[in-house]
Structure formats: C-alpha cells, structure tokens
C-alpha cells in the first residue's frame, strides 16, 4: 500500500509518499524561514495564504519525486487537527477531494500522533512501550506510547513551550530569528555557569513543564546588565538559558522513565534539532541505561511522512474516514480516551 500524507496544521504545507515497508519515497515541506526571517517571526498571514497557494505544488512535487502518478496512491492521509481551522481545512479538504476523484480511501490523523510515531520512519524502530518527549514552538509534552493507537499524556507545559521560550528570549536579546538556532550559535561560545537561572521543577514528582519564569529571569538579568552588554555577556546568557531549558527537559524525561519503569525514549518536535539537547540527552540516557531514539531532524519537525505513517496504521485498525469527518481545533489525544482521536 502506497500512502500519500498531507499536513497543513502549522506554518508549513507538507506532502509525503510512503511505501508499504515504510520507505519514504518523497518528503516535501514548504520551507518558509527565509520569508519569515525578514519579519522577525513567523507570519501566519503569509502562511495561511501559502497553504492554499502551496498545496497543489507541494503534493505534485511529492508525487514527482516518488516517480508516481496519483492513480498509484492507495491511501490519502491528512492532518485533521489540532490547529487553526482555516489552515487545517486547506489540507484536509484537498485530501478528501483527491480521495473522491480517485476513489481511494482517506483518513484524518491527529498531528501529535504523527510526532509520537515519527521514530518509525527510521531504520531502527523503537519497541513498545516507550516514552516520547515532544518539544516544539507550540508544544512541550511527555507521553507514554503503548502501541500505534494508545497514548497517555504524562506531562505538558503550564505556560510557554520550550521552542516559544527560545524564540521569545532571542527576541528579548535582539539576536534574530529563528530563535533556537540564534541562541545556540551564541551559546556555543558562552559559559553556561555564568548566570544562575531558575529551573521550574514544580511539585515533587511532577512531569509538567514551565518556562515562563525562566524567560522573565533572562529578561531581568538582561535589564540589570544594562549598558555593560557585549557579545561575551550575550553568549554567556544564551548558554546559561539553553542549559536551563535542556536540563529540565532531560531531567523530567529521565524521571518519567524511572516512574513508569519504561526503558526507551523517543524525541520529537522542532526543538529536537537543538544540538545541546541531543548531546546531553544522549549522554544522560546512556548513563541511566535508557535506549534513546533520535529521529532525523526532518522527521522530528513538522512533516507529512509521519502523517502518512500514522494514517496507514489508523486505516488498518479502524477503517477509512467518512465524508462527514471535520477538522478539529483542540486535540484530546492522550487525555480522555487515551486512544487515537
């Protein structure tokens, strides 16, 4: 079975073609950072229009790279939520229309399920059960994954997501966009011990996260420094900040593994591109005897290959979607039924 995946829940439009043996034949994402950098942040107005402008181009490009025709596709999977209704509708309606014209089945996929299963796009597959740490601009959460359909939310951010903290601290310090790479660039030259910044551990044993206080602490330090700002200080502040974020992400993941007696950890989301996070997580998982799965960056960030994979599993388990299926803005995944959708 060959699956076409479509994703339009966030800022990028994406399409991918996945073979039955999980070989990715094409994985196309409309990269937008070059446009957005000019505005100092991601610009949804552009993104929203771009979904409509990009969807046909991106899907056609995925088929071209896979050297396939639309008639060769056996299943169409599209992100159904969560996200902004307008953005989701572009991809989901397009998928329905393709399914209608080709007579093939389609399925709606929860975006987060895609992230939680993205490690299966790699040659070495994780074994159930495993923990998944998903870290992006909009999400910071820990899940337990028992099979392809059973997800349990263990902890999530109570205020800012980690990626958002990177973006906003970069903005505070005036060092550019996107915030993650900008902070890391400075942090590499800096001394992480220079500034004492808070780690929000929250209540004893809590697997929740909080990064808002850290952001404000950086702001207060920066204001105190005042006129004595120079590149050295900026580098030290970035290093201290990055260290504080990574420390909490890694420690909470290891705590979860201990609490649940689970021995595998999977990383997902855009912040997983962060080198400090990858390095420290690798070291500490090795020390704790945990098996760590670090998918390639293009499988961690928003993409349609993970949607195609999750969609195919969904079809096998629950059957195809119906024409009356609609997009949803809020995900209940892992919170109510603990199962897919």
């Amino acid at each position: 079975m060959i699956t076409l995946g479509i994703e339009s829940s966030c800022d990028d439009t994406a399409a991918a073609v996945l073979d039955d043996d999980d070989t990715i034949r094409a994985n196309v994402v409309s990269g937008q950072d070059t446009i957005h950098a000019r505005f100092g942040g991601v610009v949804p107005e552009l993104a929203s229009r771009r979904h409509m402008e990009a969807i046909t181009v991106v899907v056609d490009e995925a088929l071209r790279r896979a050297a396939l025709d639309l008639r060769d596709i056996d299943l169409i999977a599209a992100t159904q939520g969560p996200g902004l209704i307008g953005s989701l509708l572009v991809g989901f309606s397009y998928a329905k229309a393709l399914a209608f014209t080709t007579g093939r089945p389609f399925v709606g996929v929860d975006h987060m399920a895609g992230h939680l299963l993205s490690a299966f796009l790699e040659p070495v597959k994780p074994c159930f059960p495993y923990l998944a740490l998903i870290v992006s601009g909009g999400t910071t959460a820990l899940f337990r994954v028992d099979d392809f359909f059973t997800f349990t939310l263990l902890g999530r951010t109570r205020d800012d997501a980690a990626g958002e903290a990177f973006d906003k601290v970069a903005r505070l310090l005036g060092i550019g966009y996107p915030g993650g790479p900008a902070i890391s660039r400075y942090a590499r030259q800096g001394d992480a011990e220079r500034f004492v910044l808070p780690r929000a551990w929250l209540e004893e044993g809590s697997l929740d996260f909080s990064f808002s206080g850290l952001k404000t602490a950086v702001l207060n330090q920066y204001r105190q420094i005042g006129d004595h700002r120079d590149d050295r200080l900026l580098a030290d502040l970035c290093a201290s900040f990055e260290q504080a974020v990574v420390d909490v992400l890694v420690s909470k993941s290891l705590l979860a593994a201990k609490q649940l007696a689970v021995s595998s950890l999977v990383l997902g989301g855009g912040v997983s591109a962060n080198t400090a996070l990858r390095t420290i997580l690798t070291d500490r998982c090795r020390a704790a005897g945990l098996q760590l799965y670090l998918p390639a960056v293009q499988h961690c960030t928003d993409n349609a290959a993970m949607i195609a994979f999750a969609g195919r599993k969904w079809l096998q388990q629950k059957g195809p979607g119906s024409w009356s299926d609609d997009v949803f803005s809020r995900s209940q995944l892992g919170q109510v039924s603990q199962t897919f959708r």
Binding site: C10, F39, L84, G138, E164
Partner: protein, 165 residues
C-alpha cells in the same frame, strides 16, 4: 473614577488576585485585550482570568503564541488568543480570529497592540508596565460604560481583604 483606571500590582500573587477578580466579573461576550512587553505577565494574568471565569484548573491555560488560539470550556466558553506573531488587522481577518471577538464567550487577547483596530468598542484593554522584577502597573481602559462599575468594584475588592488563593 471613569471607565479607566490604574492599579499597582506589587507581586505575582497580587497579579493573580487581580486576574481572578477580573475573570469573576466577566460576562458572555466580553473581550479583554492585554498589552505589555515580553515577560510582563500577560499569560500569567490570562491564567488567573480564566480561573476566575470558571475554567477547570485541570485545563492548563498555556501560551497560544504559536497556535494563535486556544479554546477552553468553563462557565462560559473561553477563547485565549495571542497576536504576538501577527502584523496587523489583515492577518487577524485572514485567519478568521476576529470572529472570536464577537461570540458569546469570553475572549482574552495577548498582544492586542498588533491589531487594535479589530477590537469592538466594548473591549477592556489592560496594559501591563514592568516596574521592576516583581511589580507591574496595570492600566485599564475601555470605551464602554459597562466596564466603569466593574473597574470600580475590582479596585475596591483588590484593596480589601485578600481572597483565598
């Protein structure tokens, strides 16, 4: 006092009290715009407003900067938006976010300054100024008389005995 006011918030705890009192005074259809720099406490204030408005504490009211909109179901529907990433009224309308300002729920919008023209006259604007590490100045204003009495009530209650956290 007219339908505007200035309140000094001496600590994050008092900002929480202020938000809960404000949330408790909210009615269906109310729109609140929150302004102020990064780190001023807009999301923290929104969390307190949501708690006062009856949003279940089990639902974390976290930052919608990236998602742009988070919906919650409390005593009345609660729409938490963030215009941080937007660049004017065109963006708001293109994304359909303006519709949430005219629904029978409570809409709280961070970074209203990005697109002030989309807000109805009845909006309550709250600007948070950073005084120092713990203290904030809250400047309240609204074009609607419906907020006049409520701002007075709020000021009185905040000056009175502390409520339970």
């Amino acid at each position: 006092m007219s339908n505007s006011g200035k309140i000094i918030l001496t600590s994050p705890v008092q900002t929480g009290r202020f938000g809960r009192l404000l949330g408790a005074l909210c009615e269906p259809g109310d729109v609140i715009g929150l302004g102020g720099d990064l780190g001023a406490g807009k999301t923290a204030l929104t969390q307190a407003i949501a708690a006062g408005a009856g949003v279940d504490p089990a639902e974390y009211v976290n930052s919608p900067s990236f998602a742009l909109l988070h919906e919650y179901h409390g005593r009345i529907p609660f729409y938490h938006m963030d215009f941080y990433r937007l660049h004017g009224a065109d963006d708001v309308v293109a994304l359909g976010l303006d519709e949430y300002l005219y629904r029978s729920g409570i809409a709280v919008v961070e970074w209203y300054e990005r697109a002030e023209s989309v807000f109805p006259d009845s909006t309550l604007f709250v600007d948070l100024d950073i005084v120092d590490a713990g203290r904030r100045f809250a400047r309240l204003r609204s074009g609607a008389l419906s907020w006049k009495q409520r701002i007075e009530q709020l000021t009185d209650r905040l000056a009175g005995t502390p409520d339970k956290p």
